[in-house]
Amino acid sequence: MKTTSVLSAHLIDEIKALPARYPQPRSAVMPALDLAQEELGYLTPEAMTEVATALQLDAGYVEGVATFYTLFHLEPIGKHRFYMCTNLSCTLRGAEELVEHLRGAIGVHEAGEVSKDGLFSYEEVECMGACEYAPMCRVDHRYHYDLTAEKVDGLVAERRSPAAAAPLSSSPLSPTLPPERGEGDKPKRAPKKKKADG
């Protein structure tokens, strides 16, 4: 019996190929959920069930893993996610005010709320390991450093324009993407390849 699937066929094939990478086949549940979330935006019970079926696991196990990690979303979220660091270094450098500003810029009242156009949501997160560039945030899969209110406005505006609306094509399995920096503050060990931000 073939019912309509919420995940695309090629994604299911990709998920089925994952267990071969791990000594314990069920370790593939994390990257598989990541792929599913990348496609759907958030994880529905149907998506988790399909991941479970593809990996020959029980849906209950997949659900347990998905609820454990805050970066797996179980509720609808914005197309673009701001992960605002509010840990010590960033807060000392004004992260709280930036979060306040972001709320106004995308028009939401609290973390997790989706903006009316469905484009944005934000979360406050703990340290992402870039304290030397505080305050910083992650938007989708990229870090943005030395934030100011203007930079936040810029990030929002970039993603509002139709050109930026296309989803990121980069694989979430390799999250170490080169940082985006402004002119003049390039560190000595500059990233070798400069990828165009989508």
Binding site: P45, M48, G60, E63, G64
Partner: protein, 626 residues
């Protein structure tokens, strides 16, 4: 395994290597409190309640449930450090625990209560707000979940994972916010779900069937045997005011290892049914036993092959023996059909005991849906595979729950062709060099297999690979009935008189029947027209014994007293025999058992006086408040 000598609180203890401290302490009656530890589950060390202090070892409390004993170890459960550590852990457990003991079904048999009294602080310092969840949450028709009471010992989810091989119960979220949940909040489907109620050390998982029915100290309990299938799991039946209010598991390592299936646990409410039949009736009118039995005898006497006898799956050995005597005498030639029996013939020799599945290196399961037919055997097979590394070969046309292990070799046979596949198995790679005993478990494919062929194929395979056979009978006392020759499978079509012992025939009463006598405990359609209806006892009131599928004879101990005019089944058959002109003058059940044992070698165990009720272990007493 070599023995290890150690000292626990000054007691010298000698235990096999690998024993955990918590188990070693039990041998000298020292209680180390535990929540997450359970002797049938792998140790996890999640609750930290079992902290003790030992040397040589680190200078801080260590978990006794994950530490194996070592030669010369000195364990102190009562040192100031250990006592305080456990009391502190208990204080943490109680931070969010609601104070609803007065309305909690676990109250009175709750390890959290007991441990708090024995190991905890006498007063609470907690006055802040507690964590709140919606409660109770129905996990299934039979089980309620209270997340506020949960101490997150993970016994239930670990049981599901390790023992039942299912994942429908899981832990969601993490840290202080984690809670137990069923998969996407769907009802639990497993046939083994009820065991989590027994496992839960607090009142988080409770039975909805028994919910608010009684308090533990209001009930009397009786050690009996389950009557739902041929495994013969040991149970504890709980009685209050003449009602059977609860059934729990009772550990017998030879048979059930402390697990029972949901059918055995929750399927008992018919015992307390208000509409139960209490007095004999003749064509709907109340009568006396003498009149009813005379009418029955009149209707069935001298019918020969025109008489049909329908027997229940849970016919006791004693009833079966009396039927044997009736069939040898006045009812000679009658057609007999036993409910729910398999087509497996009586065993020719000794069969494999259930316990030996543990040691098998290769297990072959043929033509049986063992999860539903003999559920607790299914758990035993899973244990041998996941905890002892046995290899598993399944021959069955459809998917079975044993497929959850990716290493299971599942050969899907065409219906009726299981024997053919079994014959091919002798050259299977897993059976070339099994490296130990091979267990061959076979059913009858629910009638789809030619049993003579399959039994001989399994016998031949057992011989070739040095295996032992275990026929998986389904009906509760099929093996006892087979030994007595009353486990008939005759067609009842065309009979003129029918003696329906137990529930009516599955296919319904044949239309050719002119005279119907029924011994049953519930009113059913058609009984008002039946000539004679005799009120029956249930498994909760019946004396007698069952022979389980491995051949062990186990005695029923009725928790509920018989309420006259109800009569014991053997008494009814005795009197029916007399009405038919056969002198069955047994004064009680023991002479029947002695007579049956003398005449039937398979039932020799019946002659032994039933063992006294198992004595419960001594209560382990811990220290007073620190």
């Amino acid at each position: 395994m070599p023995d290890i000598n150690l000292t626990i609180d000054g007691h010298k203890v000698t235990v096999p290597a690998g024993t955990l401290i918590v188990e070693a302490a039990k041998t000298v009656g020292i209680e180390i409190p535990v929540f997450c530890y359970h002797h049938k589950l792998d140790p996890v060390g999640a609750c930290r309640l079992c902290l003790v202090d030992f040397s040589p070892g680190p200078p801080r409390p260590q978990t006794a449930c994950t530490t194996p004993v070592a030669e010369g170890m000195v364990v102190r459960t009562q040192s100031a450090m250990a006592v305080q550590a456990r009391a502190d852990i208990l204080e943490f457990e109680l931070v969010n625990h609601p104070l609803d003991c007065p309305v909690c079904d676990k109250g009175g048999e709750c390890p959290l209560q007991d441990f708090t009294f024995r190991h905890g602080y006498p007063t609470s310092r907690i006055d802040g707000p507690r964590l709140h969840f919606k409660k109770p949450i129905p996990l299934s028709e039979n089980i309620a979940l209270d997340r506020e009471r949960c101490v997150l010992c993970y016994r239930c989810t670990r049981y599901y994972d390790e023992i039942a091989w299912e994942q429908e119960l899981t832990v969601a979220q993490r840290g202080v916010q984690s809670f137990i949940t069923s998969q996407f909040d769907q009802p639990l489907q497993s046939n083994f779900s009820g065991n989590i109620i027994d496992l839960c050390p607090v009142g988080a998982l409770t039975s909805r069937v028994w919910r608010f029915e009684s308090r533990p100290w209001d009930m009397t309990h009786t050690e009996s045997v389950c009557s739902k299938c041929a495994v013969g799991c040991n149970t504890t039946m709980w009685q209050r005011r003449g009602q059977l209010v609860r059934i729990t598991s009772r550990e017998n390592d030879d048979i059930d290892e402390g697990w029972i299936c949901d059918r055995g646990r929750f399927d008992y409410t018919d015992v307390n049914e208000p509409s139960r039949l209490r007095t004999p009736t003749i064509r709907g009118a109340k009568s006396t036993w003498a009149d009813a039995l005379a009418a029955t005898a009149g209707g069935i006497k001298g019918k020969g092959a025109k008489l049909g006898i329908s027997l229940p799956a849970d016919l006791t050995n004693e009833e079966a023996f009396l039927f044997r005597r009736l069939l040898d005498g006045p009812l000679k030639g009658a057609k007999v059909k036993m409910h729910g029996r398999t087509a497996i013939p009586a065993p020719a020799g000794p069969t494999m005991p259930i316990k030996e599945i543990d040691d098998a290196r290769v297990i072959v399961v043929v033509a049986s849906d063992i999860e539903n037919d003999v559920p607790i055997i299914d758990l035993r097979v899973k244990k041998a595979v996941s905890k002892r590394g046995a290899k598993l070969i399944v021959i069955y046309p459809e998917g079975v729950d044993l497929d959850r292990n990716p290493h299971t070799v599942h050969i899907r046979n065409a219906k009726g062709a299981a024997a053919e596949e079994v014959r091919k198995l002798s050259s299977h790679e897993l059976l070339q060099n099994p490296g130990g005993p091979v267990a061959i478990l076979f059913g009858d494919g629910h009638g789809s297999e030619d049993m003579n062929d399959l039994a001989s194929a399994c016998g031949a395979l057992a011989e070739q690979v040095g295996g032992k056979e275990m026929p998986l009978y389904r009906a509760t006392n099929e093996r006892g009935a087979l030994a007595l020759g009353v486990a008939g499978w005759d067609s009842l079509d065309g009979v003129e008189a029918l003696l329906s012992w137990g529930p009516p025939p599955t296919a319904g009463v044949p239309t050719s029947v002119r005279f119907l006598a029924a011994w049953d405990h519930l009113p059913r359609d058609g009984y008002d027209k039946a000539a004679v209806v005799l009120p029956a006892t249930t498994f909760a009131e019946r004396q007698g014994s069952y022979t389980n599928l491995e051949g062990t004879v186990q005695f029923l101990r009725p928790p509920v007293a018989i309420n006259p005019p109800l009569k014991e089944a053997w008494e009814v058959l005795n009197e029916l025999g007399a009405a038919l002109g056969l002198e069955l003058d047994y004064p009680g059940i023991f002479p029947i058992q002695r007579d049956a044992a003398a005449k039937t070698p398979a039932l020799a165990a019946l002659a032994q006086t039933p063992s006294p009720e198992p004595v419960t272990g001594p209560v382990l007493v811990g220290p007073a408040h620190p």
